[in-house]
Symmetry: C2
Subunit: 187 residues, 2 copies
DNA sequence: ACCTGAACACCGTTCAAGT
DNA sequence: ACCTGAACACCGTTCAAGT
């Protein structure tokens, strides 16, 4: 006797993302997700292996969203300007969904790492910029330097590590400008 | 009738640090700490407000250790070389105590933020380098760029985000070299 | 004054029993 | 085939009772 499906993986993931952002990682409990989608907690295990798996799915969905934002940044003739727009897009994304962003920086508590291809595809626009700035043979190194800086800066900003005074906005722009110049200078 | 003290805050913090490094954040439970110091879990609350407080103390102890390592880096006439040694010291520290390092990057699960003065003092050598490289008026911006890059790079490395091939070591040195040049170029 | 067992409110997860 | 209640092994934390 089949029972009608009372929820879906999509509803579960949506509930998990909303809970993560509104209540933090500790608020993302199987109980709370179940309540939100209208079933009992054990039912979730029909659609999801366990909590770690659910968190991994949320992380991957976030990577895809971030990738879409980055692919939407227009490509102009000025690579330096593109880098600025790109960096601001990442930062804006992180500010609207800080908890999800922490998840994909490798800093948040993700037990199961997200799919590598997803990350590669999401960051494809960055590799274009890095290659244009530093030349094809240093593209990977340059891309890593840029992601490390952006990820580190935004993580620290979200953690409130920049309370020493000074303008955080200006420090971010200072970083972009000097990084952009650093690569171009050594082509 | 006083009972003899069967443990101490020092023993508790030591146990917590060992557990964090060997078992990860999830393994750092009040139960496990109590077992290790030879009391029952409720007794810990005589020395520590709660688990979040214990984690904060561990984070602060880690900042002090990192600060000691950084202050031990010799100051030479070549600021560029100092920066290289400094960055390598941070990375070496992170590799020996990855879980504790994550705690102080603002990426790990620290509910209560560590004392700001501790961080300022620990990073004092960096500010010297930043001021020498970028000039006193841009010292803060430069220091933030450097810490963001180093913290982000090492965090991603520890999370295994650099599996795209290529030499991680080389990417790190590439980052130092270009950052060092970037600031000096614009003095 | 410190330590303890017992208890409480939570977790994630499993599983037999329902429909 | 999906959903559920009950149960299990864990958490962190409180507190009255011991010494």
């Amino acid at each position: 006797m089949p029972t009608p499906e009372r929820t879906s993986i999509e509803a579960i993931v949506l509930a998990a993302r909303e809970l993560l952002e509104s209540q933090g990682d500790a608020g993302l409990t199987m109980q709370a997700v179940a309540d939100r989608v209208g079933v009992r907690a054990p039912s979730l295990y029909k659609r999801v292996r366990n909590r770690d798996d659910l968190v991994r799915i949320v992380a991957e969905a976030t990577i895809q969203d971030l990738g879409a934002q980055l692919h939407a940044v227009p490509v102009t003739a000025d690579v330096g300007q593109d880098l600025i727009e790109f960096a601001h897009a990442v930062r804006a994304f992180a500010h609207t969904r800080p908890n999800a962003f922490r998840l994909i920086i490798g800093t948040g508590p993700v037990a199961v790492p997200p799919d590598l291809d997803l990350i590669t595809h999401a960051l494809a626009p960055l590799f274009r910029i890095a290659a244009d700035l530093a030349g094809p043979e240093h593209a990977l190194d340059a891309a890593r330097t840029l992601t490390a800086w952006a990820g580190g800066f935004i993580t620290m900003e979200l953690a409130g590590a920049f309370n020493l005074g000074g303008d955080v906005e200006r420090a971010f722009d200072y970083g972009i400008a000097h990084l952009g110049r650093a690569f171009t200078a050594s082509t």
